[in-house]
């Protein structure tokens, strides 16, 4: 293995490879910052430009874009409460309250260091366990996916702040929305009132509306109120120490992110929600989660970056992509005549190992660029709210268009912006809706597939050890939370 890793490093020992790595990281930051251009869309946009390149630099560049964009999404999430990528939604829960307290610099520093640490740990996991994890990916069939979706939805009792009833309303609203679109098994049209809805409500524009545009409307509403506190500056030396109290969190969130990344179809959004919920349960600190607890930012950012390596594991070892972005990377392999599959490690070891090496070389670059950027980005908090709102609004609409190259997506974003704004007025938060949009289809399609597979018996879902235990955990989570909540009220 060490020998192969050396092979990987030597494949990268060229100016061309290092330059493409740097370009990839910078592009990734930009892609991540713009709401609407998520990691997968960024990689897809860049893919055609890599066709003329050598395979190793091309793949390293695409992986760098993937990694950096999962981080970049946290920047707008922390500064203006607008997540740049779906996986950064949880980073806003505590990152934005920190900004309002004048701790934007600290939050940004935590997010880049958390991302860096999560990426590093998960790269080590990837190098050591890629082949084993491929089997974990395969273990997920209809029963396991259904159970995973139920567990994911049950996180809502932990994630939600305030009224559980309102969180449930949001969750059910989201689930109802996932019923729209062509039936995934039979092809019947369901509520397809306009053609744009054939594939269901487009996810990224809906997300832009619920989080970003709704926030823009709020910013405009309070544009005349005084600006948040001037951020306190951190010296570069002290900023390196801010992660020290959070190492336990970093380790747990990396493991959660890595494993969820391995499972095909479960991506950064689910991982960051799960890691956030886990840390919230464990929290014994003075600041509640949701009011600017640094652990919330660390958990979300560590987990969503650990997903990247998790998603690469089954892709490299088996040719089965662990996420939408990894699926596009497979196209990048294919165009260079490389067949992703169980033979990749045997026939072309330089490819997986140079990706590992590029992650190890790219990470310090990503962290240094991120730390430098963090000192610059805090200045955004000094810009008057009205101006920020206008700029973010313009970016949102552009991002919505770019996500699908379609005017319909812009209309969806605006409609969801209005819905999100109105729902927040009655204190229904967007997070439960997004959780349902992410998991609703996974739950429905695998419930039905499982019923077909198991001759219409619900016992099918308890028959496998994985799905059985996931369902039990979900049930426990639900009952324990209901019980503790009731006690807290009484």
């Amino acid at each position: 293995m060490l020998q192969n890793l050396m092979l990987g490093f030597s494949a990268l020992a060229s100016l061309k490879a290092i330059t493409s790595l740097m370009v990839g990281i910078l592009l990734g930051y930009t892609v991540g910052c713009i709401p609407g251009i998520s990691a997968s869309i960024g990689i897809a946009l860049l893919l055609p430009f890599t066709f003329g390149m050598e395979p190793v630099p091309a793949l390293c560049m695409l992986v760098a874009v993937y990694m950096a964009s999962e981080y970049g999404g946290a920047i707008p999430a922390i500064l203006v409460n607008v997540p740049g990528v779906p996986g950064a939604a949880a980073a806003a829960f505590d990152g934005y309250p920190m900004t309002q307290r004048g701790e934007a610099g600290k939050a940004l520093t935590l997010s880049i260091l958390g991302s860096g640490a999560g990426s590093f740990l998960s790269t080590i996991f990837l190098i050591l366990t890629a082949q084993v994890m491929a089997d974990v990916a395969l273990a997920f069939g209809p029963a396991e996916y259904f159970a995973l979706a139920v567990l994911g939805l049950s996180l809502i009792v932990t994630l939600s702040t305030g009224s559980l009833l309102k969180a449930m309303i949001g969750l059910l609203f989201g689930l109802v929305l996932t019923a729209i679109g062509v039936d995934p098994l039979t092809g019947d049209n369901r509520y397809v009132v306009v053609r744009g809805l054939l594939d269901g409500i487009p996810f990224v524009p809906a997300l832009i509306g619920l989080f970003a545009l709704a926030e823009v409307f709020f910013m405009l509403e309070i544009a005349n109120q005084p600006q948040p506190k001037m951020p306190t500056k951190l010296s570069l030396w002290s900023s390196l120490g801010v992660l020290n109290p959070h190492w336990g969190n970093v380790f747990r969130s990396s493991v959660i992110g890595y494993i969820i990344g391995v499972i095909p179809g479960a991506g950064a959004a689910i991982a960051s929600f799960a890691a956030y919920a886990c840390e919230k349960r464990l929290n014994k600190g003075p600041i509640p989660f949701g009011e600017g607890n640094p652990d919330g930012v660390v958990a979300s950012e560590t987990a969503n970056n650990a997903v990247v390596c998790g998603a690469l594991a089954p892709m490299l070892a088996l040719g089965v992509p662990g996420s939408a972005s990894a699926a596009i990377l497979i196209g990048g392999l294919m165009i260079h005549g490389l067949q992703p599959g169980p033979l990749l490690f045997t026939n072309s070891p330089q490819v997986p190992y140079s990706i590992f090496a590029s992650l190890l070389i790219g990470l310090p670059i990503m962290v240094v660029l991120g730390l430098a950027g963090a000192r610059l980005w805090v200045l955004v908090t000094l810009i008057p709210r009205g101006v920020v709102a206008t700029m973010v609004g313009a970016l949102c609409l552009t991002g919505a268009y770019a996500s699908d190259n379609d005017e319909f997506s812009v209309a969806v974003a605006v409609a969801f912006g209005v819905i999100g704004y109105l729902l927040r007025k009655v204190d229904i938060q967007p997070a439960p809706i997004v959780l349902a949009l992410v998991l609703g289809e996974m739950m429905e399609i695998n419930l039905r597939r499982g019923l077909i597979s198991g001759n219409n018996s619900l016992m099918f879902f308890l028959s496998s050890p994985i799905s059985g235990s996931l369902l039990v955990v979900a049930a426990l989570l639900l009952f324990v939370s209901l019980f503790t909540r009731k006690r807290a009220v009484a």
Binding site: G187, L329, Q339
Partner: protein, 326 residues
């Protein structure tokens, strides 16, 4: 009434217009970049094939070929872009067998006559691959086992009514199996079905050579039947369905090709098809086809349309038989 000045003007204008049209037809084609509209997002097999073809076509046509990804709406966005045209040969689109089933099931305002069928490039015969842990390792054993244990065997495939589903029903009928002998579990893509079989969530699945080959060569899957007249060069040990003793229609195949907006002039369709045929002969394209394990099989406009017509009829029959017709 009589000859009013207005009528003269109209007459003169129409003559001029006719002359102009003649001139355009005679002008060198193509005179500007060609837009190549896809129904898929970047990165998949159809996208990669399109980009390799686009590069090879540019050399044949002397014009840039711009690949445009318009995924979504089960192909509705690609069809809308094609309808917008113009139908002068400067707009072409990617097409696969799935378009036919989609026209019949989802986008009912379209049918195979809504576009011009310019050229077929590659075919992909359907095949059936069993998990090494399955209780059967050949089609005969499958037939015997399924008859003895109805409802125990699961096949993973693409959506209900898809090409792969129909391929399975064609085989199943030729095996004389009752409809409920084997459970068909639909997945989001052919590849997802293969992954489910790899993970032991189904006993066997439908696939294509390029998707199954990496797993067949590492003994993670066993190809028990290929739905074509001759064995695949890449899977020389896998029997054809006829060799296994079942008489299924091997004309039912997945294919990839090029379509153009309705009304694209026949001479331009011919010119495009000729350029595609030449592009497919270039070493770059041949290398790609070999690397990607595709089976090139060129058909020009007339032959492609006839082939598609047969697929369309088969699809209609089977959707009715399966009670999936809408």
């Amino acid at each position: 009434m009589g000859t009013t000045p207005r009528r003269i003007v109209v007459a003169v204008l129409s003559v001029l217009a006719a002359a102009a049209t003649l001139q355009i037809a005679a002008a060198a084609f193509p005179e500007k970049p060609i837009h190549y509209v896809l129904h898929v997002s970047p990165g998949g097999a159809t996208d990669v094939l399109a980009r390799v073809l686009a590069t090879a076509l540019e050399k044949q046509l002397g014009q840039t070929v711009v690949v445009e990804n318009r995924p979504g709406g089960s192909g509705a966005r690609q069809m809308a872009a094609l309808e917008k045209g113009p139908n002068d040969g400067h707009v072409i689109g990617a097409v696969t067998a799935s378009h036919i089933a989609i026209f019949q099931q989802r986008l009912k305002e379209y049918n195979i006559d809504s576009v011009e069928w310019v050229a077929q490039m590659v075919v992909d015969p359907y095949l059936f691959a069993a998990s090494p842990n399955a209780k059967f390792q050949s089609l005969e054993e499958l037939a015997a086992y399924a008859k003895a244990n109805p409802g125990k065997v699961k096949i993973a495939g693409f959506e209900l009514g898809s090409g792969g589903h129909i391929a399975w029903e064609i085989l199943s009928a030729s095996m004389g199996l009752p409809r409920d002998a084997i459970i068909y579990v639909p997945y989001r893509s052919v590849k997802d079905g293969i992954v489910a079989t790899l993970g032991g969530h189904a006993d066997f699945s439908i696939g294509y050579v390029d998707l199954v080959l990496p797993y067949a060569t590492t003994n993670k899957l066993n190809v028990i039947g290929v739905m074509s007249d001759k064995r695949s060069d890449l899977l020389p040990n896998a029997p054809t369905i006829k060799e296994a003793g079942f008489d299924a229609d091997t004309d039912w195949q997945q294919f990839r090709g090029i379509i153009a907006p309705k009304g694209t002039p026949p001479d331009r369709q011919q010119a495009l098809a000729e350029a595609i045929r030449k592009a497919m002969e270039t070493p770059e394209f041949k290398k790609y086809v070999k690397d990607a394990q595709l089976m090139p099989e060129f058909r020009g406009p007339g032959a492609f349309r006839a082939f598609v017509k047969k697929q369309d009829d088969l699809t209609r029959d089977w959707l009715q038989k399966l009670k999936l017709a809408k």
